[in-house]
């Protein structure tokens, strides 16, 4: 079925592509955004319509996409009737929400962000529903949490939105983490992450010793997402989001993901007593609590949020009961609730939008001002209350029937019908309060705006949903029947019960329960109506328990107090202990690994002794030791000695026939020395007369450090020597040497390895280099040197004083002329060094050189210019934009790598051939040269960026000195 595979993938890709496109439209393109998003959702609906025949009889479409076939990683997408029905909600309500949001958002809001997030959310939700792999499912699950976070925080100017967004992210993110753990455990037990395999392994899962932890972790994930007790508190806080978001994410789709998962996995994890108690118990508690609290909320959206929590509890309870009939009712109610709750949220949004408030204590008598919206809201609220002839009634009857049915005879089972009726009474009462306070009573006074009917198109989505309420309520079997059947069959398979979607089932227990709920609900509202507006926001006594406060306390403890305490206990800000720990750890690891290695005795008999080479090494070692010796008080001397050690290394490379390395080492040595030298300027002089430095404790500490350093250094030398004197035998190096020219088209094997054989490593390395350069820049930009080193250097002060005394000289004249001859030569050298850099670059593939050394060479050219004259003079004449060099370099490297895709080859495949150029003749040309160009640009950019960061220190300080002087 390849065409259906493609439809499936298109269904997933469409919203994400739309999201990218939406993000790139201009900020005020409200109509374009709405058209784009609406078309994406409509496209999704069309695709779904095309796919329905293939899932209508309980079949499953599977579309495996191989991702990393060598590791056996495949992305599996699957679609069955249940996922199809849910997708219908996601795309259908998504379409209506887009239409609604077009009129809801004010022209001042940045629309691209909104629609881009909304589409990305729709895509994540689609991915979640289509996942055929349980790990993939968790990934999409977390993506929905993330986009929910971004959408709740859409009006980030408001503190409530930020707090609500963070709370939602923390709660659902923590739940997602539990879910991931559960899925990993499930995969461990079943031996596969394939959803079909997992669903078919019910007995294996239930029999496993890990069943209890799996179930608990799984339920934590589902309950946090679906706002079940006691994690429900994030949902009312998420109401700070724009109303289209509340209607779409926080009532119709995302919060249903939890119950979707419960229903989906109920055949695999359900049908145990633990499942019944945990799931049905939590669901019933949430149902009752949500309904009770909803009655006491004064905020329209708050009431609807708690009502949503309550209805989610109802669906959870049905999943917990788990009988085939209950699963039917759960799926049916998922659809019904989405339809009526989305329309109610939209109506609440219209009221808020047109009257300027959502507070039910201020609203009244809106029926006269907005009769059509009023009628729509009344019908939808009646459906929420479960009034006959509306869709809410039918699924509620099904729920009552299941609650009244006998399941396992436990206390909870016996209590179900009473709890259900009790919750239903409150549900009738809060629906009544919503209708009565907002639409009836005296005309409103003192509202921020004068309410009137909204634009026609803003009302259309509500009208459509309310018509759906009526159609499903009156003709359930004809309208939703086939789709529900497909969904139920796909979940229950052969256990699918016979159920009848009819309005009238006779005068039976559920009907009696409904009647009691209606009557008692109306009575409850009549009795409490006068008292409610003056009551606190919550039922008596219960409103004092604020889970939100508990959450805040926990956040404070876990993200602030505990980490700080732990840091105080085990952390240190001093570098010495940290370094000591690192070195000791490395030493321990080395000893552990090498403890029983027999060949660690250097073989001194082999190899020839060369006096000249030995002399070089004696000098180099002396320089290195001297550098360590002088590093504390005489940094400049240490730096010079360090250069000596570097030169010894460089000579060694040349001696041992590695000209490429020698060249690179020499260039890097130059850059490092100069950059360190520039950095020295900002380090204060060390005091030599610290009394505590002569104490016994300090001596012992230094002695210990010396021993540690000597052992580590000596050990490293020993290991290196042993490795270098061991004959390597056949190794990969031989392969490189043999194939560098035939495969990579270059005779410089080192360069061919860097830009061809191991180009991917190099690609990673230049990325790291770019990150390091940016980090150094960021750190130095905020660097404030010690006060001792901020003043003018001693020499400059003397020169300025001399200028001051002399006739006809301005202070600074001596300084300007001080380096006149060197600076002229340095400036004359600039083109010569650029030429050298180009020469090194172009010959790199065949002779010593290449992108890295050429890049360092060019950086030296810039470095010399900064040394030769002052920063302002240079930058007036020579603008280098190092971040652009870095960015362009990375882009070139990536584009070269990706270019291989055009020829059907893997990333970074290189191609080499000879080109005939006029005048020059035959020249080797490899795509690796282009990649090398990327390396070149990144190296130049990174080095110069660090240079500039250092050079601008002096600018900043001269500016601040000028400010102080004036």
């Amino acid at each position: 079925m390849p065409i259906e595979h493609n439809l499936l993938l298109a269904l997933l890709a469409l919203p994400f592509l739309g999201s990218l496109l939406a993000a790139s439209l201009p900020a005020n393109a409200r109509n374009a955004e709405a058209w784009l998003s609406g078309l994406v959702m409509l496209g999704g609906l069309v695709l779904l319509a095309g796919l329905f025949p293939s899932v209508s009889n309980g079949q499953v479409i599977r579309a495996p996409v191989s991702w990393v076939p060598s590791l056996g990683l495949n992305l599996t997408f699957r679609l069955d009737g249940f996922a199809w029905l849910f997708l219908l909600l996601v795309q259908g309500i998504g379409f209506l929400v887009v239409l609604y949001a077009r009129y809801y958002l004010s022209p001042k809001d940045p629309v691209p962000k909104f629609f881009s997030f909304l589409l990305a959310f729709a895509g994540s939700m689609t991915g979640l529903l289509l996942s055929g792999n349980i790990i993939m499912l968790v990934v999409f699950w977390e993506m929905t949490s993330l986009f929910s976070f971004l959408l709740i925080g859409y009006w980030h100017q408001s503190a409530a939105a930020r707090d609500g967004a963070r709370m939602a992210l923390v709660v659902t993110g923590a739940g997602g983490f539990c879910l991931l753990a559960a899925m990993l455990l499930i995969g461990h037990v079943v031996g596969s992450y394939n959803l079909d395999r997992v669903l078919a392994s019910a007995s294996m899962l239930r029999g496993s010793g890990l069943y209890v932890p799996i179930l608990i972790l799984f339920l934590l994930g589902a309950f946090t997402k679906s706002a079940q007790m006691p994690f429900h508190f994030w949902l009312p806080n998420a109401m700070a989001a724009p109303t289209p978001v509340s209607a779409y994410l926080h009532s119709a789709t995302m919060v249903k993901a939890g119950v979707f998962l419960l229903v989906r996995f109920s055949p695999a994890l359900g049908n145990t007593e633990l499942w019944f108690w945990l799931v049905a118990g939590t669901g019933m508690a949430t149902l009752v609590l949500g309904a009770v609290v909803a009655l006491f909320r004064h905020d329209l959206k708050g009431l609807l949020a708690y009502s949503t929590i309550s209805h989610l509890g109802l669906i959870t309870a049905l999943a917990g009961i788990g009988s085939p009939g209950a699963i039917v009712a759960a799926i049916f109610h998922i659809v019904n609730h989405a339809v009526f709750k989305a329309s109610l949220f939209m109506a609440a949004g219209i009221i808020d939008h047109e009257s300027g408030t959502r507070d039910m204590r201020r609203l009244s008598g809106l029926m006269r001002l907005m009769p059509i919206t009023g009628t729509l809201a009344i019908v939808a609220a009646a459906s929420m209350a479960g009034v006959p002839l509306l869709n809410g009634f039918i699924s509620k009857e099904m729920f009552f029937a299941e609650a009244a049915d006998w399941h396992n005879g436990s206390i909870l089972d016996d209590a179900l019908p009473y709890l259900a009726t009790f919750a239903s009474i409150f549900s009738v009462a809060y629906s009544l309060r919503f209708i009565h306070t907002v639409f009836f009573g005296p005309p409103p006074v003192d509202l921020p705006k004068t309410p009137h009917e909204p634009p026609l198109l803003m009302r259309r989505p509500v009208e459509l949903l309310v018509i759906l309420c009526l159609v499903i309520g009156i003709l359930p079997a004809a309208s939703l029947g086939p789709y529900l059947q497909a969904a139920v069959t796909s979940v229950l398979g052969r256990d699918t019960p016979d159920y009848s979607l009819e309005i009238w089932h006779g005068f039976n227990t559920p009907f009696v329960m409904s009647l009691i709920a209606m009557g008692a609900g109306v009575l409850l509202y009549v009795l409490t109506a006068r008292w409610l507006p003056g009551s606190p926001e919550g039922p008596p006594l219960l409103h004092r328990i604020k889970l939100q406060k508990v959450f805040d306390r926990m956040m404070l403890l876990m993200s602030w107090k505990w980490p700080r305490q732990i840091l105080l206990r085990i952390g240190t800000e001093r570098l010495q202990p940290q370094l000591r720990l690192l070195v000791a750890l490395a030493l321990g690891a080395a000893i552990w690994v090498l403890a029983d290695a027999g060949r660690l005795v250097p073989d001194l008999t082999e190899g020839s002794f060369d006096p000249a080479f030995t002399l070089v090494w004696i000098v180099g070692a002396a320089c290195a030791l001297g550098a360590a010796w002088q590093a504390k008080y005489h940094r400049f001397a240490a730096l010079v000695l360090l250069g000596g050690a570097g030169l010894a290394t460089c000579i060694t490379f040349a001696w041992l026939s590695a000209p490429d390395l020698a060249l690179t080492q020499l260039l890097v040595e130059i850059v490092t020395t100069v950059l360190l030298l520039l950095g020295l300027r900002w380090l204060p002089q060390r005091r030599t007369d610290i009394a505590a430095d002569r104490l016994m404790a300090a001596r012992v500490r230094r002695g210990r450090d010396l021993v540690l350093a000597a052992i580590c250094g000596g050990g490293l030398a020993l290991v290196s020597y042993t490795v270098m004197t061991t004959a390597p035998g056949p190794s990969i190096a031989d392969w490189f040497l043999a194939n560098a020219y035939s495969e990579g088209g270059g005779t410089n094997t080192v360069n061919v390895i860097l830009v061809d054989f191991r180009a991917f490593d190099t690609y990673g390395e230049i990325t790291v280099l770019a990150i390091v350069a940016l980090t150094v820049f960021a750190l130095l930009r905020r660097f404030r040197p010690a006060s001792e080193s901020t003043g003018l250097p001693e020499q400059q002060k003397l020169q300025d004083a001399a200028d001051h005394r002399a006739d006809g000289r301005q202070p600074g004249d001596t300084l300007d002329n001080y380096l006149l001859i060197p600076s002229v030569i340095m400036q004359w050298m600039f083109p010569a060094i650029i030429l050298l850099s180009a020469y090194l670059f172009f010959r790199g593939h065949d002779l010593p050189g290449g992108g890295f050394s050429a890049g360092v060479t060019l950086a030296i050219a810039f470095l010399l210019q900064y040394l030769a004259a002052n920063v302002r003079w240079i930058e007036d004449r020579l603008r280098i934009l190092p971040t652009r060099w870095i960015g362009i370099g990375l882009l070139i490297a990536t584009a070269t790598g990706a270019g291989a895709f055009l020829f059907g080859a893997p990333f970074l495949t290189a191609h080499a051939q000879y080109l005939d150029l006029p005048l020059i003749g035959k020249v080797p040309a490899a795509t690796a040269l282009l990649f090398d160009l990327g390396v070149y640009a990144v190296v130049v950019g990174a080095t110069v960026l660090m240079l500039i960061a250092l050079a601008h220190q002096s600018l900043r300080h001269s500016r601040s000195r000028d400010k102080e002087d004036s």
Binding site: E794, Q795, A802, I821, P822
Partner: protein, 115 residues
């Protein structure tokens, strides 16, 4: 002695003379760097090596490779050029630094006259 056999005797003698002269000058310069008394005297010594010392070696190299390659090999000239340009600058900088330090340390309140 493999590829050097191709060099005729007269050329070999000339090359050897140039090499020995050049390296002797470098050696004398280095001994001077160690042996001479004050800093200002010592910074003159290495100039022997960088002027005619290097010159001799460069000429020897040019001669050798021109004869071996059968064509004029001149790129050593660039080495000579860069050494000639850069070395005086280095020595000048060193001299100035020493001069500044000596004057500043001898009389702290009397700054250098024309530095």
């Amino acid at each position: 002695m493999s590829h050097l056999d191709a060099i005729p005797l007269w050329a070999a003698i000339l090359i050897a003379l140039l090499l020995v002269a050049g390296s002797s000058l470098v050696l004398i310069g280095s001994i001077g760097l160690v042996r001479l008394g004050s800093f200002y005297e010592r910074i003159h010594a290495p100039t022997l090596g960088t002027s005619w010392g290097a010159g001799g070696v460069v000429l020897a190299s040019m001669l050798t490779f021109s004869i071996l390659g059968g064509r004029p090999v001149l790129h050593e000239l660039i080495i000579a050029l860069f050494i000639t340009i850069t070395m005086p600058v280095t020595l000048m900088l060193l001299g100035r630094a020493a001069l500044y330090r000596d004057r500043a340390e001898k009389a702290t309140d009397e700054p250098p006259k024309r530095v």
